[in-house]
Amino acid sequence: MKNFLLKIEPVIWLLFGQGIMLGSILLTGWLLVVGLAIPLGIVPAEALDFGRAHALASNPIGRLVLLGLIALPLWKGAHHLRHLSIDHGGAARDLVVAPLLYGIAALGSVIAIVAVIRL
């Protein structure tokens, strides 16, 4: 497992970096509008009625953006939490923590791929 984690480290760092960069850039607009403005009534809910939301989300660019919006933050979160664990005396338990966190991110990413395909 330790060797496997070392082998996938470059991919994890890539996903982590893009999770911070692209994930944060995409999440800001999403959280402002979908997370706050629509629920608070600042933007009318009709802006994202089913027909319009589905049309936006189901085109190829929409699917790609949504996949990035879901999967990249998962990898940023998993990798950051792993290193937080290591930094706080968790080096010994890393062989359990790392596969668990990366497993959650991988599972979420696979479900995200299915979710955008089935739109």
């Binding site: 999770g19 800001t28 509008v33 979908v34 939301a53 949504l66 959650i104 739109l119």
Partner: protein, 112 residues
């Protein structure tokens, strides 16, 4: 050290928000009723508070990352040297604001 730890703790927020967005997109694929239900769930005060916390976390992460980004650049790639840190940061903020305005306008129905 505290800011560094806080930066790491935002990992929990990112992991959670990824699954919250996933839940909404899954609902969108399930049909109009599921989508409407997910929008209504989003209007619950707990979700609004969570989304506000997420927004604060995202801004914190982005600002910290953009500040560190120039330091992470290679000193040179062949004969090419990176632009000054202020230029790199300025470009990052420009992209961040630009994408946020564009994405937000699309989601809010202002364009398209």
């Amino acid at each position: 050290m505290r800011v560094y730890t806080l930066f790491g703790v935002t990992g929990i927020i990112y992991l959670l928000v990824g699954f919250v967005v996933l839940r909404m997109i899954w609902a969108l694929g399930a049909g109009p009723e599921a989508w409407q239900s997910s929008l209504e769930t989003n209007a619950h005060p707990l979700y609004i508070a969570f989304n506000a916390l997420c927004l604060v976390s995202v801004v914190f992460v982005a600002v910290r990352f953009f500040r560190l980004f120039p330091k992470a650049q290679p000193a040179a790639i062949g004969p090419l040297k990176p632009p000054p840190a202020a230029v790199i940061q300025g470009m990052l903020y420009l992209v961040w604001i630009g994408v946020t305005v564009l994405f937000g306008a699309i989601l809010a129905g202002v364009i398209f």
